[in-house]
């Protein structure tokens, strides 16, 4: 993602959210997808291996459908609060952009501490 691409608008729908970027592009992230890519230290390692990862995907898919509370972190990231499941991750805008484009935001690398 280019250095100057910023998130300008986030609209929460029932099962997904719509992101508007400073270059005018608009895309969406379904909530289970967002929750699957939680960058926190508990969820990160759960994506490291295929079997674990599948199990984790099943888990987030079965979480109740709800709109999260969104808290901006600095000018560079968002924190999502859910009534159930994990609310620890801080998502940098780059990460959200990668997720929205269907790319692996961890760059295919196993979890390392601090890599948001």
């Amino acid at each position: 993602m280019s250095e100057n691409l910023n998130l300008v608008k986030l609209e929460r729908m029932n099962s997904e959210m719509e992101l508007t970027w400073s270059d005018g592009s608009i895309n969406t992230i379904a909530y289970p997808t967002l929750r699957f890519w939680c960058p926190c230290a508990k969820c990160g390692p759960r994506r490291d291996e295929e079997e674990l990862s599948n199990q984790f995907q099943v888990e987030v898919d079965s979480l109740p459908t709800e709109k999260p509370i969104v808290n901006p972190v600095g000018g560079y990231a968002l924190h999502f609060e859910w009534s159930d499941g994990c609310s620890s991750g801080i998502f940098r805008f780059e990460r959200l952009h990668d997720i929205a484009l269907g790319e692996n935001p961890d760059g295919g690398k196993p979890y390392t501490h601090g890599a948001w």
């Binding site: 100057n4 986030l10 926190c40 674990l52 600095g74 000018g75 501490h113």
Partner: protein
């Protein structure tokens, strides 16, 4: 943690039978040594991540201090800001991760101090004005031994310095980095939530100014707001006495003649531009970042030795202390302005 230079820290292993991160496929499968190590690592990472999150709340403000090149007085400024904030009654921490020359302890009378680890937690040293200090120097065998850190070990140490330190509640944490665009600021920016921003230290010389332009670019790439630029070693003030209202002339650094008129009491003073003054401000304007102020050239800014004393402590009402106090005000105002513009403008959440 493997590869960590802080050997005293042994993370507690997860108890046997506790939730097995590999999904509890087989009840009686004893984890291999490798798996065990991975589990321990994940566990200590998780614990650290939790304390880091907690730290985000316990420390109200986090300020990074950087410069494009070494020797511009970055550590002197970082220490001065910490002392000046402490003088105003704030609880202040100072994290010195300038591995190229961690000299903060010596500026606060803490030379020779070593890392204090108890029960797996690191306790900061307490310097003048109650400033809590953690420095890479605390890990050295002696203050004069240079260390060559391999990348991963260095970054591991920094993460421990962030996650495992008992800072307690702080109003401000000031962080002194190595000069230039090293890995350290990235590691910190990725590990520590809600950094208020970066203070860039420069001197009025052209080379330093060029480097500080790079620092602004660096801050942008880290997505850390620039709080502003401080111009250090900016002019040297000389004082003298003459007859009341008498005009005298002084020869400046480039042989120019400066005329000064003494006041009613016969006192006069003049600030000589040792380097061309005002470059920091011009750079700030050019880069569209705030200019926070100038600090005078002050040969006695640090009284040397292991029991070093910063000018702010030695002369709390002196010229340098006043200059620091005004820069602290500018920083506080900027932090507040940044917060306001973040919460009002910027991202729209529906």
């Amino acid at each position: 943690m493997t590869g960590s230079p802080i050997t005293q820290h042994t993370p507690k292993s997860p108890k046997e039978g506790d939730e097995n991160p590999s999904g509890e496929k087989e009840e009686d499968a004893t984890p291999t040594a490798d798996q065990q190590r991975q589990m321990e690592q994940a566990f200590s990472q998780m614990k650290r991540k939790m304390t880091i999150q907690e730290m985000g709340d316990k420390i109200k403000h986090k300020i990074m201090v950087l410069s494009g090149k070494g020797g511009v007085g970055k550590s002197t400024v970082a220490t001065g800001l910490a002392l000046s904030l402490a003088n105003q009654g704030n609880t202040v921490g100072l994290l010195d991760i300038d591995i190229t020359g961690p000299n903060v302890p010596k500026m606060l009378g803490l030379g020779g101090h070593r890392l204090n680890v108890e029960g797996g937690r690191i306790f900061p040293a307490v310097g003048q004005r109650g400033v809590k200090v953690i420095s890479m120097a605390f890990l050295l065998e002696s203050d004069d031994t240079p260390v060559v850190w391999r990348g991963p070990i260095k970054l591991g140490a920094i993460q421990q310095f962030i996650g495992d330190v008992e800072w307690g509640e702080l109003d401000y944490l000031v962080i002194d980095f190595p000069p230039g665009s090293s890995d350290e600021p990235l590691t910190v920016a990725q590990s520590l939530p809600n950094i208020d921003g970066m203070v860039i230290v420069t001197t009025p010389q052209e080379v330093a100014l060029l480097d500080s332009r790079k620092s602004v670019g660096f801050a942008n790439s880290l997505k850390v707001p620039v709080i502003g630029i401080v111009e250090n070693m900016s002019g040297y003030t000389i004082h003298g006495t003459a007859q009341a209202n008498q005009t005298i002339s002084v020869t400046g650094p480039t042989n120019e003649i400066i005329e000064i008129t003494a006041n009613e009491a016969g006192d006069w003073s003049v600030t000589l531009d040792i380097f061309k003054q005002g470059g920091g401000q011009t750079t700030a304007e050019e880069m569209d970042v705030p200019f926070l102020g100038r600090l005078p050239f002050d040969p006695g800014v640090i009284r040397g030795g292991d029991d070093g004393v910063h000018r702010i402590v030695a002369q709390p009402e002196g010229e340098s202390a006043i200059a620091f106090a005004s820069i602290v005000e500018a920083i506080k105002k900027q932090i507040k302005d940044n917060k306001d513009s973040q919460s009002s403008g910027g991202l729209e959440i529906i």
